[in-house]
Amino acid sequence: MTGKRFLARRLGFYAAAVWSAVTLNFLIPRLMPGNPSLAIIEELERVSGQSLPPRTLESIQRLFGDPSANLGAQYLEYLGQMARLDLGVSIRNFPTPVSDLVWQGLPWTLLLVGSTTVVAFLIGTGLGVIAGWRAGGRFDSIVTPLTTFVSSVPYFWVALLGLWAFGFVLGWFPLAGGYDPDLPVGFNAPFALSVLHYGVLPATTIVFSAFGGWLLGMRNMTVTTVREDYVLLALAKGLSPRRVMLRYAARNAMLPNFTGFALALGGVVGGALLTEIVFSYPGIGYLLYASLQQRDYPVMQGVFFLITLTVLLANLVADSVYALLDPRVRERA
């Protein structure tokens, strides 16, 4: 197979994946029971504690209508919008454009979830190599069970406990928010410092809950790799154990973990809903959650579209980097 054909096939695959994801994005929300106008009415009634006047109901239904009406026309319009990267206007935040909402939350999500995903991966994978290299050793027999325990603690509980202990009792960290709102937003030292200060608790709790998965995966892969002949050979050749551990065992054991990491990076744009709720952190997770609840189709579509694209992109990157890490993939291609 020539390089060109290979590339064309990959691109065809990604195009098909984008199309089907985009179509599902459109269909699934509309196949769910309920619709935006009913959700808005319900929310307004909940907030006011009273039933709405009949004219209000009419006016809301006139504006947002019954979206189960002509699905075909809606789909064509939607495809056109997606092609122009026009995400439309939010319903919950009418008439704010979806792109405004996304840009308001996305940088914070990328910052928090992006950095914690990388840190959790590095810590987990690093410790996993050490644990797996001497499986059954002192380090392994303490850290591995402890990690299993830690990762089975529900995240929201860790987060609430962290908030209570370090935020409320000790008062080291603020109780809510992503930055000091009294400072002007921008790239300046006081603001950056406040972002760090406000970010410590959310980030630490995420890393605390997430590194365990990487550690266990890496440890178990390392355990099987260290039994391989080539590791024994390397050791027999008299190479330093450190070099064998990192260059021979870890490099091979890391492949599955790395795939997982690439996909996790793709999922970063989905945000960390529980973190955002517990710490009132600005981000995209809550936006998505609230849009789902209130059937805000344009926002749901916009965010899902973004997630789809990043996951596919991450997939592409993983595919490529895999080839670098593992020569066997290159040869087969």
Partner: protein, 546 residues
Amino acid sequence: MSRRGLLVAAVMVLATACSAGGQSRPTGGARADTIVFGKTDGGTTYVRNFNVVGPATQKTPNTEMIYEPLARIDYSDGGTVKPWLAESLEFDEKGTQLTIKVRQGVRFSDGTPLTADDVVFSLRLPLDNPDFNLAGTTYKAVEKVDGSTVAVTFDSPGFSEVNQFASPALPMLPKKIWEKQDLNTWTNPDPVGTGPFVLESFAAQQITLRARDDYWGGKFPMKYLKIIPTSPDAGRAQLLRGEVDWALSAWAGAQEEYVAKDPRTHLYQLYATGGAYSMLFNTARPPFDDVHVRRALAMTIPRSDIVTTLNRPGTEAGPTGLVDLVYKDWLKPEYRGKVQQVDAEGAKRELAAGGWTVADGKLVKDGTSYEPTISFNQDFGWASYADIMINSWKSTLGLQVKPAGAPGANLYESQQLGKFDLTIVATGGAGVSGVYSMLAGRAAKPIGKKAATNLGRWRDPATDAALAGLLGTSDVGRLKQYAQEMQSIVVDQVPFSPIYNSYWFVVINAGRWTGWPTPEKFSYVPFPGLGPDSTMTLMNLKRAAQ
């Protein structure tokens, strides 16, 4: 092990460095002229959207401090309508023409005066743009009479519909700014209103409003009102620490966890909204077209058990649909403060009187048997309350009612279409006629056709006569008479059965600002959704002696 220790140490160092950095800033000085409202139910960020007439559920919060309506609803006085930006609102004898005198001396925050033209423009906005009729206006035309007078016409007597002029969704807008805008795209980023505050600065996690010194109503003791997003849990900690002065939060353990810590400054207040959660019968289909069945089921709702589960003792709803705390002067004496206890014997007598028996958990009459279901909104945690009711019906009457929890939006659709036996709804509205308008025969639709308000399909000539009376007069004596007729109908015929009252839950830390109203003694409610009430609340606060 060492790496992990290193990480923990690094975090600690960073933490101390940061918290030290945070403390060095002068927080006290900035806080002294500021009141902080912690918003617990608006998500984690705000969007700069001051398009106040749009139907978004997530506009910028607290716009009621910037835009004001013509009138307010006084919840300390039977939910009656009092003028606000209007000097007076008066109907002619027939009730089809309302004359509005515009308050003089009111200025928008850009310095221009509020004129009759602005009022005409604002009131016509929902007529010209029916999609933006969030206030649910019912008048037909608006005309300017002179520089300070506006006439509003109704097709039928509108005495009881004057409450629409108190809706925060019908604010008075500056014509010269709004007439040029497309409401479908404009987010009104720099709002100009008549209200006591202007937008000082906007960040996604903090809105800072500054008190005007040229507000028509008077001066404010604070300079800034800050609105910050928080979660219910963090919000409670912030209230305890005094970082937040004012919040809305239904806090089940507030007495022990909050008030008891400092009863002088930690206030937890419940104000009745005038609304209630009620069980609605589908009166268009058997067996609930029979009053005996409705009475029997209503008599065996364990209301006290439900409010105990809700952690809100004493909030059982009375039988009339009018909440005591708001409508005490309007209630018949025998219904005042009445709590309906479970009456199993009475309920059995009712079933017998209607010729009903219960066999195998089913309601049976003339060889036909019915297995009713009760639908409710599962998003609001109603399942456990429905269970309490179902268990009570089983143990008192032997009747097996099936629970049918549904997500809110689905539930609402089935209610509109009349596809239910028993269902849970929010009842109540502004004023007595607002509460009972859901029973109007003209709003009833056959099952399968969407009804907007009369979800229970109630048709009753006596009800329609009393409602027509309520709508057709402004005479308080006669209004009370019709209101009492409606009470008797609801208690006797049971088209719906109220279960527990709705409240605004206000949590206050009065360490910095004192002079808050209390539910025992108030003439305005410290609830931000009621704009003029919040204005009066803030204006009458005093800086606490530190």
